[in-house]
Symmetry: C2
Subunit: 160 residues, 2 copies
DNA sequence: GGGAACCTACTCGGATACCATGTGTCCGAGTAACAGAGG
DNA sequence: CCTCTGTTACTCGGACACATGGTATCCGAGTAGGTTCCC
């Protein structure tokens, strides 16, 4: 079980676009070059972000992507859901009802599977922390630890 | 990103063995039959549990598996690690250092990647809740909601 | 000189291959129980 | 009746295929900007 690499890319791209934030879109080519990522595949991931409403895409020459809403309104939870989808990581297949479970009266299954409940509880904790962290938070931390990055990003995406 | 099905199987098997707990091993054949699972593949997963020290395997006729330690000493975290491995779900590839990142002075990377830090924080919350739940806890909850299951399990695995 | 039409270059977007990992299966090594012969 | 030995049946364990989803790529539809021609 490993998270899609696209999540990492998406987070960094959103971060980069938060640094630009002058309304000017940035093309996939620039974004891919700035992190040495395969351009076409990055584009595919960005499409997922557009579909999720995190990015806006501008077609045509001088087109590209820009944030669809302020960075402090985009959580890591949004990013993960946009790339990975809304399905839970642990998916209960109700094997308790199979085999010997078929001999148990149906009323015993009125409550949710206890294994699933416990797994779900852990996943909720994960999602809660993800939802509490915004791109703006990460941006602030990055600038605190490495003030140089903001300028480098703006220079990389500037029109020159 | 979906968790291995083996995790669900492992949890239920450990639960079943917690209900037997008379020291008598239960064979893969019985366990697989009791949940209608493919026997050979279940065996493969159980081997992982043995390697992780959660189960003991007894070879030979009348052999099988039994818990290596009490159910209240086996957490869901142990189960997940046994099947999925110890690697983090989100694996940072340090793309911040690539492309435009190469122009940034090395001292800026003294601190960990902020994206990774946030992801790691969420994952820690997940692991913490997993580690707080034991097989014994799940067993208690299942018996509370469906008292019939314990007897059915014992009957399914008994020597008759 | 101003404006409109055309052309070009660049962008996103989806359709299309490739590959790694999870899923599923098979067969062999090894062991415990049983049966039978011998004492 | 007890003990030893050979056989048998059953178990785990690892090596071997298959399928699904993540990874990577290519090409077409569409748009903005620049250019050229005409008025």
């Amino acid at each position: 079980m490993r998270m899609n690499q696209g999540v990492e890319w998406a987070a960094h791209v959103l971060l980069s676009l938060a640094w630009v934030d002058d309304g000017e879109p940035v093309s996939t080519a620039r974004l891919a070059a700035s992190y040495e990522l395969p351009q076409a595949y990055l584009n595919k991931q960005l499409q997922a972000l557009v579909k999720a409403g995190l990015l806006e895409s501008l077609p045509g020459a001088r087109g590209g992507f820009r944030l669809a809403r302020p960075a402090d309104k985009i959580t890591l939870m949004d990013v993960v859901v946009a790339i990975e989808g809304p399905e839970p990581v642990f998916q209960c297949t109700e094997i308790r009802k199979q085999g010997m479970g078929a001999n148990i009266p149906a009323r015993s299954f009125r409550y949710a599977c206890a294994v699933n409940t416990s797994m779900h509880r852990a996943e909720l904790a994960w999602r809660k922390v993800l939802a509490a962290q915004t791109i703006a938070d990460i941006k602030a931390e990055a600038e605190l630890h490495a003030p140089a990055v903001a300028g480098v990003a703006r220079r990389a995406y500037g029109r020159d």
